[in-house]
Assembly symmetry: C4
Homo-oligomer: 499 residues x 4
Amino acid sequence: MTSGKLTGAAVAEHNSKDSCWVIVHGKAYDVTEFLPEHPGGSKIILKYAGKDATEEFDPIHPPDTLDKYLDRSKHLGEVDMATVEQEEKAVDPEETNRLERIKRMPPLAACYNLMDFEAVARQVMKKTAWAYYSSGADDELTMRENHAAFHKIWFRPRVLVDVEHVDLTTTMLGTKCSIPFYVTATALGKLGHPEGEVVLTKAAKEHNVIQMIPTLASCSFDEIVDAKQGDQVQWLQLYVNKDREITRKIIEHAEKRGCKGLFITVDAPQLGRREKDMRSKFSDAGSDVQSGDGSVDRSQGAARAISSFIDPGLSWKDIPWFLSITKMPIILKGVQCVEDVLRAVEAGVHGVVLSNHGGRQLETARSGIEVLAEVMPALRERGWDKRIEVFVDGGVRRATDIIKALCLGAKGVGIGRPFLFAMSSYGLDGVNRAMQLLKDEMEMNMRLIGAQRVEDLNPSLLDIKALLGGHSGVIPSDTLGLGAYDPLEAPRFNEKPKL
Amino acid sequence: MTSGKLTGAAVAEHNSKDSCWVIVHGKAYDVTEFLPEHPGGSKIILKYAGKDATEEFDPIHPPDTLDKYLDRSKHLGEVDMATVEQEEKAVDPEETNRLERIKRMPPLAACYNLMDFEAVARQVMKKTAWAYYSSGADDELTMRENHAAFHKIWFRPRVLVDVEHVDLTTTMLGTKCSIPFYVTATALGKLGHPEGEVVLTKAAKEHNVIQMIPTLASCSFDEIVDAKQGDQVQWLQLYVNKDREITRKIIEHAEKRGCKGLFITVDAPQLGRREKDMRSKFSDAGSDVQSGDGSVDRSQGAARAISSFIDPGLSWKDIPWFLSITKMPIILKGVQCVEDVLRAVEAGVHGVVLSNHGGRQLETARSGIEVLAEVMPALRERGWDKRIEVFVDGGVRRATDIIKALCLGAKGVGIGRPFLFAMSSYGLDGVNRAMQLLKDEMEMNMRLIGAQRVEDLNPSLLDIKALLGGHSGVIPSDTLGLGAYDPLEAPRFNEKPKL
Amino acid sequence: MTSGKLTGAAVAEHNSKDSCWVIVHGKAYDVTEFLPEHPGGSKIILKYAGKDATEEFDPIHPPDTLDKYLDRSKHLGEVDMATVEQEEKAVDPEETNRLERIKRMPPLAACYNLMDFEAVARQVMKKTAWAYYSSGADDELTMRENHAAFHKIWFRPRVLVDVEHVDLTTTMLGTKCSIPFYVTATALGKLGHPEGEVVLTKAAKEHNVIQMIPTLASCSFDEIVDAKQGDQVQWLQLYVNKDREITRKIIEHAEKRGCKGLFITVDAPQLGRREKDMRSKFSDAGSDVQSGDGSVDRSQGAARAISSFIDPGLSWKDIPWFLSITKMPIILKGVQCVEDVLRAVEAGVHGVVLSNHGGRQLETARSGIEVLAEVMPALRERGWDKRIEVFVDGGVRRATDIIKALCLGAKGVGIGRPFLFAMSSYGLDGVNRAMQLLKDEMEMNMRLIGAQRVEDLNPSLLDIKALLGGHSGVIPSDTLGLGAYDPLEAPRFNEKPKL
Amino acid sequence: MTSGKLTGAAVAEHNSKDSCWVIVHGKAYDVTEFLPEHPGGSKIILKYAGKDATEEFDPIHPPDTLDKYLDRSKHLGEVDMATVEQEEKAVDPEETNRLERIKRMPPLAACYNLMDFEAVARQVMKKTAWAYYSSGADDELTMRENHAAFHKIWFRPRVLVDVEHVDLTTTMLGTKCSIPFYVTATALGKLGHPEGEVVLTKAAKEHNVIQMIPTLASCSFDEIVDAKQGDQVQWLQLYVNKDREITRKIIEHAEKRGCKGLFITVDAPQLGRREKDMRSKFSDAGSDVQSGDGSVDRSQGAARAISSFIDPGLSWKDIPWFLSITKMPIILKGVQCVEDVLRAVEAGVHGVVLSNHGGRQLETARSGIEVLAEVMPALRERGWDKRIEVFVDGGVRRATDIIKALCLGAKGVGIGRPFLFAMSSYGLDGVNRAMQLLKDEMEMNMRLIGAQRVEDLNPSLLDIKALLGGHSGVIPSDTLGLGAYDPLEAPRFNEKPKL
């Protein structure tokens, strides 16, 4: 020990489940007793027993995690990092290629739409981070259907409307916004960018849109609220803890810190199986897994590791309690059929988000936009369409998608992954450009559809026949017949130039 | 002859159709007179005349075959195998590649779903075995439609249901099962694994699910029953023999040995043409076939070889006889339209399996799940839905598929090929993992759909509009137009790294 | 001149449009005056001016052509072929490859279905012959739709029907056939096989099916009739000549020679543009075309060359005349909507073929099978369904296709191209095998659908909802979105073998 | 300065925004004060500050631009071009490849349909020109849907109609035309051909079809009118300027010069974002853009650069004014739903073009042909179908497309891009051939559908069920399942030739 600090060698001795120390941000912690309680399993901690775990720890845990969950007595104090042996990492050719690709990245100005950020992110993000952000449930049909569903809706635009001045502003839960989308909650922001969710906070301020703070953020809740400026508005997304006192404290704290909406996630009593994410973890874990006992591998990706506290027993009976402990408007996030929307109105909540959780939970759950087409006529029929605000998320990539949702009756739409991809590729500039592109697109498309204001958007501007027609499965292709067919050719160029 | 055993040379003399001896498991047999009766044709036997036929014999014939069908006088006794000339096999480059692939097989833990086993099996199974298991009728449209049909059904899940405790158990034909699927009958288990169907017996025990024993098993019926443990339940799948006394003996024996259900196959008066299987046999047979008389080749794959005894005359008139000779519940396997289900109820049977035989029989026969959507409303309308149990098989690969079938009214689903692929790739561990994956998926998906028990599953949880909309054919693509179109590109990465 | 024969040199002098001689089958002809009348244009003849044109002449012209159409005075007599200079043909690499492929042809026994013959023919046929047989109108959507339309029809089979004995025989226009298909008329048989249409005559006899003799055969009508054996039945397909006396003679001659049905083609007032065929001719013509005057090229493929005599003025007013000059039953070939079928009944003809001419005439004309689904209910409604026989052709490739047509009410189906492809690849053996495969398939499928006889086939065995639902166009794919999507992967095999 | 001319060196000194001279067609201009007013932004001009800008200037600006918009005092006079330094252009490998491809171009006679010209143009056009012509809005779904929509319409042809004489002529806005299409307005013709729109004028004369003159032509309006011959008829397409006096002058001038129809574009209050076009500009601009301040790039392709004058405030209130200032019939171009067509009738205009601007404006706007199917029954119901003429454009590539539009009730169809592609590839000969191909196709297809005259075309000749059925989105493919599936194979050829 030098100058009152622990040496790397001293820590390295505690490298087993009998005595397990780890270093995080230059400090040592004794996590031996915590091992069985770790929501992500003990295996991943033991991989770093006696070593520096900072790089693995950071994206998954908000900075206040150790203070909150590990008894003070286990905080062993500072480590002289100069004495910690640097681990030689095996050269991973995929990682080498990735770093090389980053050097060749397209300039930000070459991104013309939200898909472009995804195409870039796929090339430049770390494999595990990409897998966590980009993955969906099972065969990912739902995830892809979310965007495809918007393509079942075609416009019936009006011409010769004076659209010199177009106004995109609207109001959501009483807050005026510059454009009818909000940044929806997505977990683990530091997987994509070292600063995490506060990057989104800054972009939301810049563009005057609302940010929904996720329960599973990499940044702590307070860090994200502290990053807020001026009269910027934030909402809180809530996974309900089995221990309701923890939940109560979170809600009361959020209200005190100024959150203007409480979005209770109701589509995730258990977090989904996302096989791309699981597969990415698996190869990451490497040979250890294979040397095991042949039993089912328990490392099931980031999603499972971080969600064990969520209460699968949450039910309609809990709603009055939530209404009793906060003055924030309460919105149920993840409602998926008209029956539950009607029940939500009766339960007295202030809104619903029609969502299948970005296609990450139940496979072949319908898209939010399709459910919206079922929900709004039922609300209007009962005269209930003003009693709640209806939001939609999932698959929104173009301003035309936003306009379609609003024509059908949504108050606003949530956008998640596209901003993560923009942030992961280009940081704050990326998110700002993504938001600006949506504004440019929306201003133009309002003109082209013949609408001056958000209030002008209505169902007569749409043809939604296909949305109501059900979900065709893939048609098995006629392998033999198509294989025998000789396709038509365009005129052939000569093989050699004419002299 | 040494020590009372036949020498290889002595056997080798009998290598023609005039005198044809073969060696199986170290014993010689005179099959000269049996040649014309062999259901698979004489050609395949003659290929091994005077030689050791064990490797070819094993997967196709249960061990008691020679005892049952070849007169004792033709059993020539043991052969001194050391004296049998080892045939030099030509090196088959495809087989060499396969063996090399086996060395590089993914670890079992990398299989995350049932499709993964199929993807691995395709690479590591022997070509002919793969062809037999994986093939379907004609253009294999039906085979592929079976799974695709489930993708026409989308969920209408309920939220805020207390799903802390989820119960997957159900009852089929009076037997309590841990999850509503059973291992359906599939032929020739030893093509995929040297132990054959008993591997499935062991996995079924481990997971407390019912196994249906196939008539065309590689193992003998008694071997499969002997492998049963404790109160494990098995059913019998029956191809009805033209000789009804043989059929009667099989049924009575099965009942005596404890089988709890008799599934009479009604969709196979003749086994289907499976061209992938036929093609694989063909190249296996090699140059012999080509040197023939130019007539139609008679080797039509494994399916045809083993099924010549099946009675195409079986009809509704036979049902009372079956009901009279057994107390086992009788289920018709392979019913394909509502008219026949109603007739089955009137005939007094105890159940039906809606099935197109895994897409291996009639091409463009509708999937079981589609027929189910037609059948159940008709049964309910008549108040007959409790009079029989309705099962479905074909295309089940995900727990969501099981849940969809149960929502529509099925009592349980049969799963066949996926377990064969798991067994062929990873043996018993593979099958166990496949079943465990289904349980994990199903527990999660019950939570996500908002159902605690199997009884909570009902049609209001589904959107089946597309299932009722008929079968689109493939749309001819616009070759010229699409060829001339210049597709959109994502941002381009620079070709050289920035310095 | 030697021994009274012309020398090659003497012929070679007449190599211009001012004096143009050609050699066909060892005889010289002076075609100078015939040049402007040649239906295929003068250019193609001039290519062979002064040379041997036999190879080009043969497939397009029946042997009696020169006798019929060229005045005796222009028949110059025999040529001493030993004195004719052999033209050195430029080596065409495509042709070299084709000849090499022929050496490697799959054995006939490896063809398991009718598509297989097409796949082989595509590789082994001469390019121009393949182009003529395989091409369709415009974008060939209709041609492909013809087969795809059958995939919109799915079966509702019946089980537990005694199908030990299945009877495929039926009667068409009073003739008993072994199976309900006939060999429909297709032009230019010698493009595919040196013997031409008589190959089909022999196979039709072997399998006891009816052959329809084409107007545009490579063999002469009498050659095809002469090839008939025993009580074999043939029909005549007729393109109506502008000169009705020629037509009258053809009909009277056909009746005299025993034809049992007259099929008047009504869907080809002008033969279609088939761009694959045109493109193939074009490159065949080589540099000549390019050196021209830049005007529109007039060589429009084989179809146009041979059809200039067809009368585009043919109309309903002509029908009584046809009925008055023959006792053969008259069938209109190429009817395409219910209105015209009803009119045909009123006009007193004996049958119709619902057909779009194999997709070779009007692009986006509906398939015969789709029109059939519209026609039969209308006929039944009026009680007219016994007044005419309704046939269908186009896209029939499987016995299931035949069964579907018969279930809907067709009396029989015509099959054309598949037999041409079988003949072009494997000659008579090929056609025989193709017909046998259909019989094998049909016997099996009758069993699997639960039908003993052709009369048992009826609409309740089908689900035709999709056929009635209209024609979806191709859905534009979401290029950017799909490009950004990262598809799921199966488990990865290790890159290097484990040691 | 030599002989009164400016030297290149003198011009080159004025190479900044403080003093910016450019050379166009051998004359120098001082554009310093004009920089901020340039509709395409100052950046593109500054790129040529002090240099010769002719090549960039020409396709975008009609020849009279500088005279019209730049004060005489800024016209600096002639430049001695011999003294202007030739800029060494970096060799662009894409451009090198393009020039090489031009040498190998297919002969014109190898183009058999309108798609063929597009396939050739894609290979031989300059990248930026191709991008401007070929691009569409957003994901280009609408652009592709335009042609695909015609494939949802199938024919119900009539047979046995006397079609010896077919008459394609019709009348549009009182002008007799040889065939019912017109050359619709498209911008920037010189991007594709150095002579620009006058090439189209000549072809239109040759084929007796009407040309619509675009506001945004590369040639000046008068040049295009001057190219007119005899009684050739032209129409004017009008983008309405914010300054109505300019608009008035344009209209009055057009009427004076003999234009016979005024087509007011109503679907472009703002020109669309076409990302392919934007992306092409971007890479053209090169490194400059990247060295910028990271803000959103303002160079948004050719479309934006040239359209800033268009008035987004244009509305129904303006229509009476237009009617008051001209006797030309007024047609609204770009109407997209039945409500607006009815309003147009009430407003007293003489026609509408149902169009989504070639898929270049609002993404997922319905095709003109689909809107037509909605519009005509509504007009007929009110007896208004003779009160206006209804035209359609977008996606017309085949004569069958024209016929379908006329069957539904259109008076004629506009064709744009195909003629541009023909012109860009083969000049006037190309456009002539394209028009001739349409005539050949139409004559044949009129025969095949059983129509003698344009008046015979009516809705009973079509099956449009699919057109009315809505827009399916792309169905997410079953990646894992399809990946695991082993497709059927055709017979395999031997690998080595038989000896």
